[in-house]
């Protein structure tokens, strides 16, 4: 198994490089200029903007910019953002905790919903519980997140005024009050994302469990006199987990990527909104850094998914 992992890691390096080349050319060719604001201000003479572009190397040919970016990258210097002139890694690290907190919590909520509901719905097929759970799941992931986000704001922030809808990463209070405020302000974004994701996963868990529940070895387990609970848990869920765990592992990169739309609506200063503002301002170093980390995570979690698959299912052998 270990040399399989090593082999996969070795393959990952060229693929990451390949991805970075394509990413960089895409960004370099895409139109747009980080100094949009300078343009409309007549007081700023045009040659200042030209000097600014030159000083940041925007006018060099693509491949020289790529190599300078790559060599800087390898030295651990992720370059600094054109727009905010801050080192990119500082920018990302500042926003990482918020993204992990909100998006991470929503994924946990999604799993906390999907696993129990999915299993119970599958173990009682076509019961009332199953029908209700199924219909709610459908409604859950048919509602676009931005629509539910707006409705929640309208309901809880504006009419009822219970929850703040301005997310503030810099809460000044400490101790319990900090936790209280942190929870109060992240309830809505976490709920919107968690419910949407939970609904999709419930359906997936239900169908995975349904596939397993009819297999012969489940009847064998029952014939062994095991209580229904442990038949379900040890024999049905354990086998159904294999596709579910793989799916969850493949979903992890989005935890880093953040939910662009939800972060825009609830103004969560996460990686998603950083990526959007960077894209709109064509701030190449930031986009490159975020997407490069994202690509690395995608490859890493793909590998992790395969390893978990092998670990969970003994039939899979890695030569």
């Amino acid at each position: 198994m270990t040399n399989y992992v090593v082999r996969r890691l070795l393959i990952a390096i060229p693929s990451l490089l390949g991805i970075s080349v394509i990413l960089f050319t895409v960004l370099a060719l895409a139109p747009g200029d980080p100094f949009e604001e300078l343009a409309t201000n007549p007081a700023i003479p045009p040659d200042v903007r030209a000097a600014l572009r030159a000083s940041l190397g925007l006018d060099d040919p693509v491949w020289t910019r790529y190599f300078s970016w790559l060599t800087a990258m390898l030295r651990g210097d992720w370059g600094y953002s054109f727009v905010s002139r801050v080192n990119v890694d500082q920018l990302i690290l500042a926003r990482l905790p918020t993204t992990l907190a909100i998006i991470g919590a929503s994924q946990v909520l999604a799993l906390a919903i999907a696993l129990p509901v999915g299993v119970m719905a599958a173990t009682r097929p076509y019961s009332v519980f199953d029908q209700v759970a199924n219909t709610l799941a459908f409604i859950g992931f048919s509602l676009p997140t931005f629509f539910t986000g707006l409705l929640l704001i309208l309901l809880f922030s504006i009419t009822l005024d219970w929850l703040p809808f301005v997310y503030r990463a810099d809460l000044t209070s400490t101790g319990w009050t900090w936790w209280g405020e942190q929870i109060r302000q992240s309830i809505m974004p976490v709920a919107v994302l968690g419910l949407f994701q939970g609904a999709a996963w419930t359906r997936f868990v239900r169908s995975a469990v349904l596939d397993v529940i009819r297999l012969d070895h489940v009847t064998t387990a029952r014939a062994k006199g095991l209580p229904e609970g442990s038949v379900t848990l040890r024999h049905v869920v354990r086998n159904a987990l294999i596709p579910v765990v793989t799916l969850v592992a493949l979903q992890m990169p989005t935890v880093f990527g953040g939910a662009i739309v939800t972060e825009q609506i609830f103004r969560v200063p996460g990686i998603g909104s950083l990526l959007i503002s960077a894209i709109l301002a064509n701030d190449t170093p930031v986009i490159m850094a975020v997407t490069f980390v994202f690509a690395g995570l995608v490859i890493f979690f793909n590998l992790l998914a395969d390893v978990i698959y092998g670990w969970l299912d003994p039939r899979i052998s890695y030569s």
């Binding site: 693929s15 991805i19 060719l29 992931f141 676009p144 894209i279 709109l280 997407t291 490859i299």
Partner: protein, 309 residues
């Protein structure tokens, strides 16, 4: 040791029952899924409304009438009006055509490319599979928006001359949304192919001399269809939502073309004063997506022979 008795013809039902074609069987099973049937009726209602609607409901789509700003639903304007006094019902009907067309077309692109890549990766071993999976990983990690900026910037003028501005944008939007949705389908199909490829009936078909493409098309693909259909239905929904996100960033259709997504985003700031403006397009998106998902679920039950009802 005496061989086992050859049981006489198994209990085949008496001749009285008509020979059931697979299609009819699938329809019978589909009919059992009540919600799917209801959704089918509802969806065809929506599609009909969107196609015939603009002919029946003749109010012009972009007639600006400042006197009728932000009117709540009334007989003159069943869905109310927006801040330019334009009739929202007409815009929802007209917009529906584009949103649905984008949804379906993007799904088709995603499914076709996904199935193709998945099948090839699934059937071949080693290098081809690894290369295709690398390509999938690459697309998974590409940021959708800058690529979209690039494609629109590169092709809009050229395409615009050939097929006209609106069609040009339509093709581009479908290509981009579709072009970013095929990876999950490809991965799904590949996994299906890996498991189906080992199955006895495939070896049996190969033993009977079936060529590889025939194996794929006639034997493996129909079995892999179930999850692909479910993924396809999810893709239509995701495509409609993606189109509306694009219109939020103004990258989608030109501003004067009302799609559901654009309507919803134009309305989002007036949600607390003129909720009707956002609710109807939002409802249209929701209902369409919900019905498509239910139909997908019904189809999967109908087409999956293993699924006992």
């Amino acid at each position: 040791m005496a061989g086992s008795t050859l049981a006489s013809a198994t209990a085949s039902p008496a001749a009285a029952r008509p020979r059931v074609t697979p299609g009819a069987e699938a329809w019978r099973r589909f009919r059992k899924h009540r919600l799917a049937v209801v959704s089918l009726v509802l969806l065809s209602g929506i599609v009909l409304a969107v196609l015939v609607g603009p002919l029946v409901w003749t109010l012009p789509v972009d007639e600006i009438d400042f006197s009728a700003q932000l009117q709540s639903p009334s007989w003159a304007h069943p869905f109310g009006t927006d801040d330019l006094g334009q009739d929202i019902l007409a815009r929802v009907l007209h917009g529906g055509r584009i949103s649905l067309a984008v949804g379906v077309a993007a799904m088709l692109v995603a499914v076709c490319v996904g199935v193709l890549v998945g099948a090839i990766a699934g059937m071949s071993r080693g290098r081809v599979d690894a290369a295709l999976m690398w390509l999938t990983d690459l697309f998974l990690s590409l940021p959708e928006l800058p690529l979209l900026l690039l494609i629109i910037y590169l092709f809009r003028d050229g395409l615009g001359q050939i097929v006209g501005p609106e069609a040009g944008v339509f093709i581009m939007i479908v290509a981009v949304i579709g072009g970013f949705r095929w990876m999950p389908v490809a991965r799904l199909v590949r996994a299906q192919f890996f498991s189906l490829r080992e199955k006895e009936f495939v070896e049996a078909a190969r033993a009977l001399g079936a060529s590889r493409p025939r194996l794929v098309v006639r034997h493996i693909l129909p079995n892999a269809l179930g999850p692909v259909i479910v993924a396809a239905t999810i893709d239509v929904a995701a495509a409609i939502i993606a189109e509306s996100t694009l219109s939020f960033l103004g990258l989608g259709f030109p501003p004067d073309i009302p799609t559901w997504g654009r309507l919803l985003f134009d309305a989002k700031d007036n949600l607390d004063f003129a909720p009707h403006w956002a609710i109807f397009p939002g409802l249209a998106i929701f209902l369409t997506v919900l019905t498509i998902n239910f139909i997908g679920d019904g189809l999967r039950d109908a087409l999956d022979p293993r699924r006992v009802l």
